[in-house]
Symmetry: C2
Subunit: 469 residues, 2 copies
């Protein structure tokens, strides 16, 4: 018989079943041993003979026994299987557990992060973490399915690619076969997704792995995942926003999320600053916070450019002219400001066709109508002080693509980690990621980064130059 713990009905009474799972709790009562056996579907009480006292908590066992009705006074109304118990005839230890390095019967918040993540395979057994990971999976499924239904094509883009000028530092990968040269890991599939519009796919999406070498924050690692989409021939920015809103609502509803306003309110950037003091804001009432409501809103009408902030190294590097982009250099301005961009006038006043999706005080998505003419994209980089050689080197392939019949297009990237975090009522991104990095950039469970051998360094034609201690 296959394993199951879906014994909440009484129709299995009398059957002999074979169950497999973890020893959730154990209670020795003289000659009898009571085990709560746990698997992914729940727990069930097993009553066994004395020898079962040998079992250690969290060991994996197989139990063969008869399903019995509990006496009336022993029924546990709080458990889905509380009306029955398994009268154990035999059992086998499939995977013994020794002493546990971290407790898993708490919510985990009392444990140092390094320890939680070193033993993540245990940490994930918490009911809360099981739920978080499963909700994220269902959210991914629902978002993907909503897009497939609307004829979006799921297309993978390269992981070993080129620096894409998106404002943050790249992680680089030495190319063994081409000494001295490096791939960059993608900060986002921005350019590839636009090229897929040039290629005529019209509707693209991807659950995209993105990697940025940014300074770590307590709740953020180097990796993140975005639900990335792009579409051709949008009537306006509003038509992309409308499609995204429909998809988000469908997906969030299907995984049980409750949303506040429908349609999502649209707030202009100046209005957001005035009313909320920031371009990310929380529209929930106290009561809605308690009820786990998600309050989505759109923010539009951002300035395209801003004066370079000298504190931001990555921006300064790209911003010799004193101007840099606020959101995305590949955006178009709003239609009314296209001439300004072409003429490089009123630079600080040019409004980008960008739209951010915010939820409960977080930015959960950002997108725009893109520039799709060589002239516009060139003007953006010229305003940021790029020479024509640098423009060719950086985005020459995009300019070429825009010269072979590229349709108007726009899209968005939704932060899957953040959406999953908000849906599960968490406040740290790490609680919605199975194996997040530690705050010091270590990979969960495994000791990475790690040294590599001299032979590997030689093969890569590299030498390390360590700072003096």
């Amino acid at each position: 018989m296959q394993r199951t713990l879906t014994l909440q009905t009484t129709q299995h009474i009398g059957e002999v079943v074979k169950l497999q799972g973890w020893v959730d709790t154990k209670r020795d009562h003289g000659k009898l041993t009571f085990i709560d056996l746990r698997d992914r579907t729940g727990t069930v009480q097993c009553v066994g003979y004395q020898k079962m006292g040998e079992l250690t908590p969290e060991s994996v066992i197989e139990v063969v026994g008869q399903v019995k009705e509990r006496p009336e006074n022993m029924i546990n109304a709080e458990s889905a299987t509380g009306a029955v118990e398994i009268d154990v005839r035999e059992y086998t230890v499939l995977g013994k557990a020794g002493s546990l390095p971290i407790p898993i019967d708490t919510d985990g918040s009392e444990i140092a992060e390094e320890m939680r993540l070193k033993y993540r395979y245990l940490d994930l057994r918490r009911e809360r973490m099981q739920k978080n990971v499963r909700v994220r999976s269902e959210l991914t499924r629902a978002l993907s399915e909503a897009l497939y239904e609307r004829e979006f094509v799921n297309i993978e883009t390269p992981m070993l690619t080129k620096s894409t000028k998106e404002g943050a530092r790249d992680f680089v990968v030495p190319a063994r076969l081409q000494p001295g040269l490096f791939y960059a890991l993608p900060q986002s599939p921005q350019q590839y997704k636009q090229l897929l519009m040039t290629a005529g796919f019209e509707r693209y999406f991807q659950v995209a792995r993105c990697i940025r070498d940014e300074d770590l924050r307590s709740d953020r690692g180097f990796e993140f995942t975005q639900l990335d989409l792009e579409m051709s021939f949008p009537e306006s920015r509003e038509s992309v926003m409308e499609l995204v809103e429909t998809v988000v609502k469908q997906a969030v509803t299907s995984v049980g999320g409750k949303m506040q306003q429908d349609p999502f309110p649209v707030v202009s950037y100046p209005e957001a600053l005035e009313k909320y003091g920031a371009d990310k804001f929380d529209l929930r009432t106290e009561q809605e916070k308690k009820n786990g409501v998600l309050a989505f809103a759109w923010v539009v009408d951002f300035p395209f450019f801003k004066k370079v902030d000298a504190k931001d190294v990555a921006e300064v590097r790209d911003g010799k002219s004193g101007w840099t982009f606020t959101h995305n250099p590949f955006s178009s301005p709003i239609p009314e400001h296209i001439e300004w961009l072409k003429n490089k006038e009123h630079i600080g006043e040019i409004i980008t066709a960008q739209y951010d999706l915010v939820c409960n005080g977080y930015e959960v998505g950002g997108g725009s109508i893109r520039a799709h003419s060589p002239e516009l994209l060139t003007a953006v980089f010229e305003i940021m002080g790029y020479s024509s050689e640098e423009i060719t080197e950086g985005v020459g392939h995009m300019l070429e693509a825009f010269g072979v019949g590229t349709p108007p297009h726009g899209g968005i990237a939704l932060g899957l980690d953040r959406l999953a975090m908000l849906l599960t009522g968490e406040t740290s991104l790490k609680e919605s990621i199975a194996f997040p990095m530690t705050g010091s950039g270590k990979t969960a469970v495994m000791q990475a980064p790690a040294p590599i051998s001299d032979e590997q360094l030689r093969e890569l034609h590299l030498a390390t130059q360590l700072p003096k201690k």
Copy 2:
């Protein structure tokens, strides 16, 4: 009005429609210009006035016009929209195409690979490539959905991780914040997926991006994608094979693939060598080859270990004892040979609980029942000559995980690139990947790998040591 080219019915006749798409072909007939307008759904003939003669092939245009019935003698029965034409009233150029660097009205096989991939955004406009990319998307959708339906949880695993001893070279990523240390990009999520079994998810899958620094072959780049899955408590290797077979059949059938034998034949490794001379073989008849049939088969009973082949650098590095694994060091032997492994006897005769899925002469998947006890995994690495320090350093975290209650488990990795290639009748993996690498390891479209700045090298505490020319 929204765009559409689904005008194959005559119910639109008389309507004024707005269409957007690419100029597929253009014919000037004196005062009239005939345009075949193409979008993702097909083409439709547009008849316009002389000025449309300005349009260049592959330009993106918007057309407003009336749908008219064609005269009987002008009906094109070979086109889905051949009974109608659009009488153009006005048109706009949305994205002008200049001269095209590569032709796209051929199948592309006459064009040098470097050119095809440099201009991939054009190359992908070929009908064949459009179909290939869309079939791959539908295959991914169908495989994922078949697994979601069976309660598999979609879980992402890290891209920045640690070397995982899987036989090939790792790509490494210098850690700026931890000078001298490197992450490795994942060759597969093997260890993480096993740890998810320890974590109690019981059923995991992922469309996993994998990256290996292997010497390039004409049809293979450094990146590949696998449909990766793992499940706990399999009754036997056959029960995993059965589930995988069901999922593959369901997905392949749903995207229109035709399969040969049902159930898939199971061939032992010795039998395969004897009958076909290899562990990958093609069971199709000539007629089935013409009909695009997929002939799947399982291969089982591989030896666990083999003598190290001195030509394989990566294997020699791991094989000080003279033995290395044939498939996967994390596998279990078949139940009958577990004692041999523990006792390190009959090493060359130990059979692994590995199963390969082959199709039309290619290996399209490989998996196994895993070792889930510290004792077995340790014995495997000891046989391969690892010292106890090296074992702790390499897989100590796995041994620890096996000591906190790990269930028996097994799984498989299906090669999504290969499955998509076979489904679309292609013979090169590159035809089933949107942006594959060139044979010399260059990223499609973008000039990567590329030099990085001295400043970036300094930040990474690295220096390049180029070979003398």
